[in-house]
């Protein structure tokens, strides 16, 4: 069927709009890349826009030798991989029973979890809990308190509920227990869902900032978000500069840009790999896929 004129117009508008939105995401990124690859003078006098000027890798070199970025990069990787694994595991273990109609008090448990979405203790009580559990200064303090995102759990639960009940009846007749049904039927059928949620968790852990800053005292355990934030923000603390030697610790813009690049590249690399699953994606109600 050929598109009508109004449809064509609609598509045109769509393309224009999406192009603008896409550019507004890509251009700042290009600018940061260009800054990280440019000479210090060019950066200071604002001659860098989208293409490196006086190209040099000096920023990256000072980033890797002059800051603890490699250590914090490795910390971020650990926090993200282990955290995502644990979160997925527990989310599945919570969502699966709650998706079973025969589970007696599933309504109560669901509501109890939803309750936590609305109310939370606040920073200091949370800190006291974590402190008294002896978790301060360990990554467990990042993983355990936010182990399950209720929202993600609900998404997963409704995805499991969408699966036709006949499939697991058939599995049961063939001799599968609940574990077997989960592992052999439900999970393989929910791959797009799992991939998407893993990405949600992964990005969350990768970007963890407040929790790391509050719970981790040992700077050797800082992740990249805290390090980069510290590098960027320390520059503007005017009151420090009463003592000019303090200025030596200021990080030039090129190095900060390089740090930002190092921080976003892993996530940028993961997105395309998971992209095919997004097409199927997640849903909460209504029909998709």
């Amino acid at each position: 069927m050929r598109d009508s004129r109004s449809e064509k117009l609609f598509y045109l508008l769509n393309y224009v709009l999406l192009t603008i939105i896409a550019l507004s995401c890509i251009l700042p990124l290009l600018n940061v890349i260009a800054l990280s690859l440019s000479g210090a003078d060019a950066v200071a006098s604002g001659r860098v826009t989208l293409w490196p000027v006086e190209t040099s890798l000096a920023s990256f070199k000072s980033l890797f030798t002059g800051t603890p970025i490699m250590r914090s990069f490795w910390n971020s990787v650990q926090i993200t991989l282990i955290g995502t694994g644990l979160s997925m595991l527990v989310t599945i273990m919570a969502a699966y029973p709650l998706s079973r109609r025969q589970f007696y008090s599933r309504r109560f448990f669901t509501l109890a979890m939803v309750f936590t979405m609305i109310f939370n203790g606040g920073l200091i009580p949370s800190y006291l809990v974590v402190q008294n559990l002896g978790l301060v200064n360990s990554y467990a303090a990042l993983w355990l308190p936010g182990l399950v995102s209720t929202y993600n759990m609900l998404l997963m639960r409704s995805a499991f509920e969408q699966l036709p009940g006949e499939v697991d009846e058939a599995a049961k007749i063939d001799g599968c227990g609940e574990t077997g049904i989960l592992l052999r039927i439900v999970l393989p059928l929910s791959k797009p869902m799992l991939a998407t949620l893993a990405l949600f968790y992964g990005v969350g852990y990768w970007n963890a900032f407040m929790s790391v800053m509050i719970y981790i005292n040992d700077t050797a355990k800082y992740n990249m978000t805290v390090l980069v934030q510290n590098m960027i923000k320390s520059t503007s603390m005017i009151q420090d500069f009463a003592d000019p030697t303090m200025l030596a610790t200021m990080t030039p813009e090129g190095i900060r840009s390089a740090a930002v690049i190092v921080m976003i590249v892993p996530i940028l690399a993961v997105y395309p790999l998971l992209q095919k699953y997004f097409v199927k994606g997640v849903m909460l109600g209504s029909i998709k896929g």
């Binding site: 003078d41 200071a44 006098s45 604002g46 001659r47 890797f64 030798t65 002059g66 800051t67 603890p68 970025i69 490699m70 250590r71 109560f108 509501l111 109890a112 939803v114 309750f115 109310f119 203790g121 920073l123 200091i124 009580p125 800190y127 006291l128 809990v129 402190q131 008294n132 301060v136 800053m213 509050i214 005292n217 040992d218 700077t219 050797a220 800082y222 805290v226 390090l227 980069v228 934030q229 510290n230 590098m231 923000k233 320390s234 603390m237 005017i238 009151q239 420090d240 500069f241 009463a242 003592d243 000019p244 030697t245 303090m246 200025l247 030596a248 610790t249 200021m250 990080t251």
Partner: protein, 554 residues
């Protein structure tokens, strides 16, 4: 059953749960009795904060465990355990540590409001007796600089803060392009009319000679380094010292500043888009590319200014010649730009600290010039050597950068000038480097121009010595200042649609309805009670004169 029917039950469960948690979060340790017994020189153990700026080089350990923390533990009087505080988030990190009872004994913090907050929450230990009984070095420093005591005393009349003396010099320098003045046959402007005329000439007469209309008279109109310039010119501050020593609070002084800014804006001598240049970076870049004639910089650190901005300008525009410009005379009088804070409070002691004596010994250790010099230059013979006249010279810049440059936060109570001549900024420049040679010339010019007994255009005193309003008044005050600021900004850019007179009326109304009575009252009472204790600009000028005398005597 719906969620709402179940809510009470759920809340009960949650309540019980949190009650349990609270039950086990009680502090185990009872307030420790004083460690009074004088067992001969047993090393005390204390904990201290240290700022983390993410700047410890790869392979140097962490900010709380590195060659300098080891050095302190080996050479200092006590065993130190360091807790890193992220520089930018120091407030929230300190809040959490204090609230959970795990804050270090000794807390270094630049932020006056953060320290005041700790005082208000009764988290701090008074220091008078401690210093009296156990200090040698710091006590001597207090004797030499009574201002250190004056600045550290809180509203209950006791001393709560340790601090350091800084060299007084201008924090902001106004630069004018001397090569442009010469080319157009103009003089440095001395009053409002001349200022406007020069800025106009800079904009319209193509001073860079490239045949394109791409220059502005003045940059950084609203944001960035230049932000305070017009405020300083007119002393357009909310809290001021009146003629007869009374405190004056209100927006009345802001009108003249807005009038002048409006005149400049309407004359087209400033980038019309100044409001969208939120951090002033566009304007700064224009200046560094030789497109702006008058620009004020934060030059608290002329060395840094030399290696960054000045160097960039000299590369981009080799012909550029800068000159320091005094603030013009105006209908409000003549003022000078803001100065550095010479009496800077930087450390407080946790009220729960168990071994105050060891803290005092540690502070005494940090105050010593030998110690302070170590955090500035490193170990003698390894990182620097002293020349015959006592000038410290870095032996290997690369090694210095890698091992020493990030250690300066360990020296937060160190008064550099105690080192003598080579503690002063003027002796830090390396004249073999062109940008630094030029910066030294400008620094001397700035000292001469701005360190005068003209009133400083920043109201009563340096912001770090201003008192803090109680919380709800502070909120009101911030709201009303922001609203008034918006009113005047509108008046600057709106032409005949909105005149300055209207704006002044609106500002006054805003101020009256925005809690002016309470705020004025509070400041008045504070001033009546504290005026003899508050350090003001004239005190700083005295310190400046003393310092310069000492410097010249060397």
């Amino acid at each position: 059953m719906s969620l709402f029917n179940k809510l009470p039950k759920l809340m009960l469960i949650a309540g019980l749960g949190s009650g349990l948690l609270a039950g086990c979060s009680n502090d185990k340790e009872p307030a420790a009795g004083s460690s009074g017994n004088t067992g001969e020189k047993e090393r005390g153990s204390i904990s201290s904060t240290i700022y983390d700026r993410g700047s410890v080089p790869n392979g140097m350990g962490t900010i709380e465990d590195n060659m300098w923390t080891k050095w302190i533990n080996e050479n200092g009087p006590a065993n130190l355990k360091f807790v890193a505080i992220p520089r930018w988030e120091s407030q929230s990190k300190l809040n959490v540590l204090l609230a959970s009872g795990s804050a270090p004994d000794l807390i270094f913090e630049f932020g006056t409001s953060i320290r005041n907050q700790m005082f208000d929450q009764k988290q701090l230990m008074p220091l008078d007796d401690l210093i009296e009984q156990h200090s040698v070095e710091y006590k001597a420093l207090l004797g030499k600089y009574p201002q250190l005591k004056q600045a550290g005393i809180k509203s209950d009349g006791k001393l709560y803060e340790f601090g350091r003396m800084n060299e007084v010099y201008p924090l902001v320098s106004v630069f004018i392009r001397e090569d442009w003045l010469d080319k157009l046959g103009l003089q440095v402007p001395t009053n409002e009319e001349e200022f406007l005329a020069v800025a106009k000439a800079f904009t319209e007469q193509d001073p860079d000679g490239n045949g394109v209309d791409d220059t502005y008279g003045i940059g950084g109109f609203e944001f960035g380094d230049n932000a305070g310039l017009f405020r300083y010119i007119f002393n357009a501050n909310w809290v001021n010292l009146g003629e007869n020593g009374e405190i004056e609070v209100g927006p009345e002084r802001l009108q003249k500043e807005a009038e002048f800014k409006r005149a400049l804006y309407e004359a087209g001598v400033v980038d019309k888009d100044f409001l969208s240049d939120k951090d002033g970076s566009k304007s700064k870049q224009d200046f560094l590319n030789g497109k702006i004639g008058i620009y004020a910089f934060m030059t608290n650190d002329y060395m840094g200014f030399a290696s960054r901005e000045l160097d960039t300008l000299m590369t981009n525009v080799p012909d550029a010649k800068l000159k320091i410009m005094p603030l013009p005379k105006t209908s409000a009088g003549q003022f000078t730009t803001v100065w550095n804070n010479p009496v800077q409070m930087t450390a407080v002691v946790n009220a729960r600290a168990k071994n105050p004596e060891a803290i005092m010994e540690y502070i005494d250790f940090l105050v010593k010039p030998e110690t302070g010099r170590t955090f500035r230059y490193g170990i003698e013979g390894e990182h620097y050597k002293l020349e015959a006249d006592g000038k410290p010279v870095i032996l290997d810049q690369e090694k210095y950068k890698n091992e020493v440059s990030w250690a300066s936060d360990f020296g937060m109570v160190y008064s550099r000038l105690e080192e003598g001549k080579y503690g002063y900024a003027e002796t830090q420049f390396d004249e073999a480097i062109p940008a630094q040679k030029e910066a030294l010339r400008l620094f001397r010019e700035a000292m001469e121009t701005y360190m005068t007994d003209l009133p400083v255009g920043e109201g009563l005193t340096h912001s770090e010595h201003m008192p803090q309003l109680p919380k709800e008044l502070q909120v009101k005050f911030s709201n009303v200042t922001a609203a008034v600021h918006d009113i005047y900004t509108r008046a600057i850019i709106s032409g005949s649609k909105y005149t300055i007179e209207q704006a002044a009326d609106d500002a006054q109304k805003q101020w009256e309805t925005g809690g002016s009575a309470e705020i004025v009252d509070w400041y008045k009472q504070w001033w009546d009670k504290e005026k003899d204790n508050v350090l003001i600009w004239s005190d700083f000028y005295e310190i400046y004169e003393q310092q310069q005398e000492a410097f010249k005597a060397e």
